[in-house]
């Protein structure tokens, strides 16, 4: 079975033995594990200030997706667990009763798991959606603790309500929000290069937008998808290609608008691009109209405008990521005891497994000591191994990056001095007897933070 990332703790586990996440003690749906390769996850996180419409947007999106078969034959959805079912039911009830979902409490987010099958030109995807509490984004120090889900995500919805920003008493700007996000990413040691940031302007009906944006909203062919009395274009009348071209056009226009008209917008765009992120913009109106201020209404029968756009952007931009292979190779010689210190190996393993498919090896043993998802042993093997790495490197795929932790020189590492492994192997030396002439070498001493090693390896990725 290919490595399956747990949707709760975002780490790979050995799902052959148990479906329970050992960290959060939640049962991972069997269908999620079984269909992982056929229905790969589409990891999504929402980012935004409180009351900027994140949860409302997710509620509206799920309602829309439930009706999507009206447009595309053969497209259907399936929720994968009771929590998702309950959440969607709750949203529906709230929609029927005309109540907005309450603001998401500040807590570790649990995803809703929702398979959508047979999306045109994209196949089937499992939406793993996290609605993270808005409050945590206003406090830099809390981001890392709560937003571990971001680590797995390649696509982020950056939900911003321009009317709410304008009326914000603290004078927050879009740059403030992005700065908090950026700092959180840095704390989590996430490489943002190539990540997709989809800016979703929520409450598009309320915003003071140029007329062309309002026209774009109104022209949404899906606006009546959740209404019974509205005719929706059938498959023969609808061109996804044309629709997506429209999304691209409006994205370019919104970017220019942001640069010129939104406070802090130009700086925000520059920062995102400087970090190598792919930017897309869209505008939505999940409610279709402003909720009555007294009743906070989210109506099931409302027209909703361009609610599918962020979803389609995510599908377009995020092809299933091939997992990045990482090898952790540890000394197994007679002098290797210090490597197995509890403060080092488990911590390094824990961090590295967030960044790719982590396999561990003993120096001097070609076969893996543990597979992805399996924790490494906490002691060296009974037979002391010579420090040899050649057979491990030669069996690894060229994309693999290795962290090698040793207490003395590696006998055959010099064999690879002029090979591409020179830039792909980080050597961590403990003890006094150091390897000479290996370019990526770090000396690790007791008491050093293991995350320093993780950071150094990430620079090789």
């Amino acid at each position: 079975m290919a490595r399956v990332i747990c949707p709760f703790c975002l780490k790979p586990h050995d799902f052959m033995s148990s479906l329970e996440c050992p960290v959060y003690k939640e049962t991972v749906p069997a269908a999620y594990v079984r269909d992982y390769n056929k229905v790969p996850p589409l990891w999504l996180v929402t980012i935004g200030f409180t009351q900027h419409g994140k949860t409302t947007y997710l509620a509206a999106l799920t309602l829309m997706l439930e009706s999507i078969d009206k447009v595309w034959d053969g497209v259907y959805y399936r929720h994968l667990d009771q929590y998702t079912l309950d959440t969607i039911r709750q949203w529906r009830q709230e929609a029927m009763q005309g109540e907005l979902p309450p603001a998401n409490p500040k807590a570790v987010p649990r995803p809703i798991l929702f398979n959508i099958y047979n999306i045109p030109e994209s196949g089937s995807r499992c939406l793993v959606m996290y609605d993270v509490s808005g409050e945590i984004y206003s406090s830099l120090s809390e981001v890392e603790e709560y937003v571990t889900s971001i680590k797995q995500v390649k696509t982020t919805w950056f939900l911003v309500s321009l009317p709410d920003l304008l009326s914000d008493e603290e004078g927050k700007t879009i740059t403030d929000l992005f700065n908090v996000y950026l700092s959180g990413m840095e704390n989590l040691r996430i490489d943002l290069r190539g990540q997709n940031l989809i800016v979703v302007y929520t409450k598009g009906d309320e915003a003071v937008f140029p007329r062309e944006f309002k026209d774009y909203l109104r022209a949404d062919p899906f606006r009546g998808l959740t209404r019974r009395d509205t005719i929706i274009p059938g498959p023969e009348d609808f061109s996804l290609e044309v629709y997506i071209q429209g999304m691209r056009d409006i994205s370019n226009q919104l970017q220019e608008y942001t640069r010129k008209q939104v406070q802090g917008g130009a700086a925000f765009i520059s920062m995102a691009k400087a970090n190598g992120m792919n930017l897309a913009f869209c505008v939505t109106s999940a409610l279709g109209e402003s909720p009555d201020s007294a009743s906070n209404r989210l109506r099931a029968d409302a027209f909703r405008y361009r609610v599918l756009d962020p979803f389609l952007w995510a599908v377009i931009l995020e092809t299933p990521a091939s997992s990045r292979p990482i090898g952790l190779v540890v000394d197994a010689s007679r002098k290797s005891r210090s490597v197995y210190d509890k403060a080092l190996l488990p911590v390094v393993w824990d961090h590295l497994s967030d960044y790719g498919e982590l396999t561990t090896y003993y120096l001097g043993q070609a076969s893996p000591a543990s597979r992805p998802g399996q924790r490494p042993l906490d002691s060296p093997p009974s037979v002391a191994h010579q420090r040899l790495i050649g057979p491990i490197l030669e069996e690894a795929s060229p994309e693999t990056r290795f962290m090698v932790i040793g207490t003395g020189p590696i006998t055959d590492l010099a064999d690879f001095q002029n090979s591409p492994w020179r830039d792909r192997v980080l050597l961590v030396m403990m003890g006094e007897d150091h390897q000479r002439d290996w370019p990526n070498t770090i000396v690790y001493r007791t008491g050093d933070a293991p995350t320093v090693l993780v950071d150094a390896l990430l620079r090789l990725l």
């Binding site: 070609a366 037979v383 002391a384 040899l388 050649g390």
Partner: protein, 224 residues
């Protein structure tokens, strides 16, 4: 020479078919890089880190890219005892054995009558690892210089380092000693007057208890 047939052993090193003995013979004596695949494949308390430290103490290791005419013998695995060679042969496969004296000498005689092979012969063996290819290439260059220094005309046997290589363990059947050595070393590695040309082996006193730093081996493979 287009007629030579090559196969790779389990460690990915080439063996060449020798009609005279109806078997494949390792192209060169077994190298340290080659033996390390065995060490990494089979966790074995006998061949543990201490064992290899002792071997490397007798004949230090050289990285493939550093192989030169003045150190090329460091590339070979030496100091190994016959019983250890047999264990390596078992790992290679059922049909791999240490050559008998007769096998070795018959192969040597046949190969000595042939000219060297251009190394481009290995180009067709796409699956040869880069590191192995470097070992083969560097050893070929280094031994060419050594042979010239020794005043030998280079034959295919010399290219395969049956001379100017290491002393190679051979099994001596029907004699009062079981293990002997054939080959000829470069004087900078191990000085001596022994030559294999007479067909008689060098006979160490304690082959199973004493590590001899000039003694290595190559295997033969007779596929059924």
């Amino acid at each position: 020479m287009a007629s030579l047939r090559f196969e790779l052993d389990r460690a990915g090193f080439p063996m060449v078919w020798v009609d005279a003995i109806n078997a494949y013979v390792h192209w060169i004596p077994v190298t340290k890089v080659q033996f390390e695949y065995f060490l990494c494949a089979v966790p074995d308390s006998h061949f543990d880190a201490g064992w290899y430290d002792e071997i490397l103490y007798l004949n230090p290791r050289v990285a493939p890219n550093e192989i030169r005419a003045d150190n090329y013998w460091n590339a070979f695995l030496t100091g190994v005892m016959p019983s250890e060679v047999q264990r390596y042969a078992r790992w290679c496969g059922d049909e791999y054995t240490v050559p008998t004296l007769n096998d070795w000498f018959a192969a040597y005689t046949a190969l000595k009558a042939l000219p060297p092979e251009p190394l481009s012969a290995f180009d067709s063996m796409g699956e040869v690892r880069e590191r192995v290819r470097t070992v083969l290439t560097r050893l070929d260059s280094a031994s060419r210089i050594a042979l010239k220094e020794a005043g030998y005309e280079r034959t295919l046997a010399d290219q395969m380092l049956m001379r100017m290589g290491v002393m190679e363990w051979v099994e001596c059947r029907g004699r009062h000693f079981q293990w002997g050595g054939m080959g000829e070393t470069f004087s900078s590695f191990y000085g001596g007057l022994f030559t294999p040309d007479h067909g008689q082996p060098h006979v160490p006193n304690n082959p199973e208890t004493e590590r001899l730093h000039a003694y290595g081996f190559r295997l033969i493979w007779r596929p059924v």
